[in-house]
Amino acid sequence: MDLELNDIQQELSSTLNKYLRTEYDIAKREEILRSDEGISREKWQAFAEMGLLGLAIPESYGGADMTFNEVAVVAEAFGRSLVLEPFLATAVLGANAVLLGGSEEQKQAILPGVAEGQTFLALAALEPGLRYAVDAPQTQVSGADGSFTLTGEKNNVLGGDVADHFVVTASQNGELGLYLVAADAEGLTRVAQRQADGLGSANLKLDGVAAQRLDAADANAVLSEVLDLGNAAIMAEAVGALEASLTMTAEYLKTREQFGAPIGANQALQHRAADLYAELEYARSMALYSRLAVTSEVPGAEKDRHRDVIAAKIIVDRAARNISQESIQMHGGIGMTMEYPIGHYAKRLTVMTRTFDDADSLTAELAELGGLIEPQAADLS
């Protein structure tokens, strides 16, 4: 059994964290946050040059042909530094949708640009009024045989503010499909939004917009896998953010004095911090669990993939909730200010845990899937 990062992953992690500590510190991030686009295209180029954007893309499309495990290492580092650029939207959601669902031609057209940092992607799967349901979009498809148009409305399109191409879910005769739409396509209206955590998103209006179908594989299966990968990446990112939050909070407890002693001398706070530490360990464990689920090559494992990912997210969500709330509480007023970083972590964690689902929807879904263990008892007759 070996659950450790391998040498390459360790190297990737330490190089990237080192880079981000100096090149993406609080002040530099603040500057990016205040900029018009809210992202740094320069940093994005740097990420591309470091090979981060095509890690799991095959070499034939300009990528490094590695696995989601390396993607998770990046996501965790990005979470630790609260990176604002649309890594999740482009390199995880968008790239995997094309990779899993696209034709050879589509992959050739899109993926090299992603790996090179030239192309932003976004997945448009949510719609107004449908909450977290993604499998039966109201957006409708017309046409056939390579000439499709889409009409409908999409919201909360993460990274949609800067995307060059969208992967859009839509229905035709009640069947789900994934469609590639260019950002400059006629009939597409994009209203850029900024999420509470500073990341960009967009709402889209599609009015007979030309689209290509991604039909190399079953759309339901592709969408499900893409979202599982997205959630696994979110968990990795959350672990980075949670670890940074708790480290920062522990540091504050050690240095901030009240009544002539560091507030960390209060046993009540020590014990609560210990509970948070345990939650962080749980989050680390379950982020790993989800990573194992999405990368498993054991035959038949995909059957359990979604179940394992949502089980993991129940735990990570709870850790995110408790650590983000308690971090602010332990900082006191300063934790609520924009000047101090802890609140930014809380904002990212709060949004992150509600991106594709929330704690209740996950719990209900896992229960419906039958949970994680088989009911069995020796004395049942």
Binding site: L126, P128, G129, L130, R131, Y132, A133, E153, N155, N156, T189, V191, Q193, R194, Q195, A196, S201, N203, K205, D207, E257, Q258, F259, G260, N266, A268, L269, Q325, I328, Q329, G332, G333, G335, M336, T337, M338, E339, G343, H344, A346, K347, T350, V351, R354, T355, D358, D360, T363, A364
Partner: protein, 397 residues
Amino acid sequence: MDTLLNAEERDFAQQMRQFYRTEIPEELRLKVATGQELTKEDMVTSQRILNQHGYAVPNWPVEWGGQDWTPVQRHIWLEEMQLACVPQPLPFNVSMVGPVIATFGSQEIKERFLPATANIDIWWSQGFSEPNAGSDLASLKTTAVRKGDKYIVNGQKTWTTLGQYGDWIFNLVRTDPDVKKQAGISFLLIDMKTPGVTVRPIQLIDGGHEVNEVFFDNVEVPVENLVGEENKGWTYAKFLLGNERTGIARIGGSKVNLARAKAYAAVTKTARGTLLDDPLFSARLTKIEAELTALEMTQLRILSTQAAGSDKPDPRSSVLKLKGSQLQEDISELLVDVLGPQGLDFVSDRVQGQGLSDLPNGAVDALPAYFNTRKVTIYGGSSEVQRGIISKALLGL
């Protein structure tokens, strides 16, 4: 609650309900009801109407505009105000500096300030907290050194809520550095237009500008602006902070917010009906409703004890603060979760235009309110401070 009131109390509640709903402009109340930010003018308008009818400062002495009400009446006044979504009179004026001046000030200072304070002709700010004195308030460092008939004030205050609107600020300042920290503090009123006073906004993670830092750089303050005696400020501050805890459970406000979350849930569609039908959501909602009822009954029990003649400060009010603030946070989170993905964007308007659907109700304010509400377990005596009080005063630990 109505069924627990006696006939006169019920009449009084009816009277307040009627008053709030007819006299306070609906447009103001709608802003409160829907979580919109109030302007300075909104707050002034509301308080002046209350003051015209004698309802701005009922807790003050009658000669300065107060009402000789029972504790139950005072509760009804506040509860019904919150239920009617009436902007509350500015606490810095009404619950803080006003009572301190009325109780400890000279006749001259009372006449000079109290009427203007009740009518919000002066907008007061609070100058208590300092960067390194949070829960440990008494370790404050801002100094006031007497020079002739003036104090020269230097230092910095922080967390000054709505300080950007402030005309005057009431401060705790250190007038004697050589004694025990509590013994060298005075209560000083400062005109914020005085040279050397600078207000700097603090931006909060909810995206708003609610609090400020206030800097004092050799600010000259006439000695007649001292309230009460020099170096007795800590006594006045404790008196003030005791008042601050009144109504801090904000039960009426929580009821309004909870009813709002519930109403939104009832129109939020899920795969199987509405969110209000969702078993896990409704279970969570239901528990919060039961909890809010428990909080209200606890408040009423304390009131009943007071009505029965006890006028001692009741340490059980720490339970109200501890649980009431937690509940406000839980309700704010509930609203966020009702909104779901559509509550995650930072937007100032539900209307998107360009052919896109309007955003759902609450999309503008739910998440900012969630972040803003983090403060309620921190300020006014943090939850940790309240637990300390309870464990000491009520359990003897």
